[in-house]
Amino acid sequence: MRTWDWSYTGHVMPDLLRGLLVTVEATALGSLLAFALGLVWALAFRAPTRWVRWPVRAVVEFVRNTPLLVQLFFLFYVLPSAGLTFSPLATGVFGLGLHYSTYTAEVYRAGIDGVPPGQWEAATALSLPRRRVWIAVILPQAIRRVVPALGNYVIAMFKDTPMLAAITVLDMLKQAEEAGAESFRYTEPITVVGLLFVLIAYPTSLLMRALERRLGT
């Protein structure tokens, strides 16, 4: 077994850090999309007409119950044949955001259900318009209590970004793989990728736990 080569590690670091940047970018944009789309789904679940509720429910269940990797391949290889072509990163962000929106939708739903009925009643007693009830009364309380849960999905998404390598996004894993393919040394780049994931994901999850404690009490 060969020993760890520090100079080779230093040599591949810039590429890996460039990959890290892409990974973080994909996570950040994917999260924003997941937060926004998830809220749309959660509100649509409560639409007054089943002609909205049922189709949305069907789409959400479909997306949630198919693998992310399959969805990424579909978006990347099938959509262009229908004339829709996006950059690999944009496709990846959309895939991540769409997939995770089906989880955040459930998180929002639970948060909305958790707002005490008395809040709805007080809003009704004041004749607040429906829009205002959502924006000013229900959502601020619902979202506040689900911030930690949303944060945990961000971490999960972060750890799913290596799947974007499969659709040629130059994320951390793809950079490591290419470095390895060039020099036939995979130990250093792959190990460093793992460490970088831990270095970011673990403190973030500690932060979420702290946030949970603070918001929970």
């Binding site: 005490p116 008395g118 809040q119 009643e121 007080a122 009704t124 007693a125 004041l126 004749s127 607040l128 318009p129 205002r132 000013a136 009364v137 601020p140 309380q141 506040r144």
Partner: protein
Amino acid sequence: MVPETPDPAAERPDDASPKADPAPERPDSPEPSGDSVGTPLVRFEKVCKRFGDTVVLDRLDLDVEAGRHVTLIGPSGSGKTTILRLLMTLTQPDEGRILIDGAPLDARARKTIGMVFQQFNLFPHMRVLRNVTEAPVHVLGMDKDEAAERAKGLLEMVGLGDKLDARPSQLSGGQQQRVAIARALAMRPRVLLLDEVTSALDPELVAGVLDVLRDIARGTDITMVCVTHEMNFARDISDLVVMFDGGRVVESGPPEALFHSPRHERTREFLSAVR
């Protein structure tokens, strides 16, 4: 208030009949009450309400004249709170109609009704002032500064002029309930519904809330409909007490008369049980 029910047990003695009473004159009130003679401000017409197999209200007829302070009493499950919730459109009647000033209770009529809840139901993420200004700004379209000025006045009236920037969670139950009263009054309601407003409070906090309600009862022309288990509250604030049981009116009358010489056995039993 004219409770009428087909139940023979609910026949009222004439001396307790509020039908003959005109709405109390309140020359000090700046706003005209707007009700034409003979039209009660609130009218229930043969209202039925069931929850599953349980009949909560059974063809209830009930009138409340403008300016009245009415207290509904009766054992739990007698439908008192349901009456308030129906008026606030928090639940819908299965049969019958509810009229406000002779017109069906709709979204527009609802704006003239305010409610204070047992559990306060303040908006916990808003500061005290914003709790009170939210509806005037977004429902009445009031200018923000004007709403804030009025809210400050109301909060001062309920003794919380120094708590404008507090969060509800930083207040005692009694203080929260007084904010809730200010919040309801900020909408300039013609009818104020009070649902067990002191029941969730520690005993030493009840007096402060009652003081505020007494001031409102004496100093404004707001019609009040209260549900309470506290007979002192009923005696103190109301000019008419209505005894309910089984979704129907048993009897009604001025508090002194009803408490001292109840006509019906059910009322006697109930009063001796709660005292």
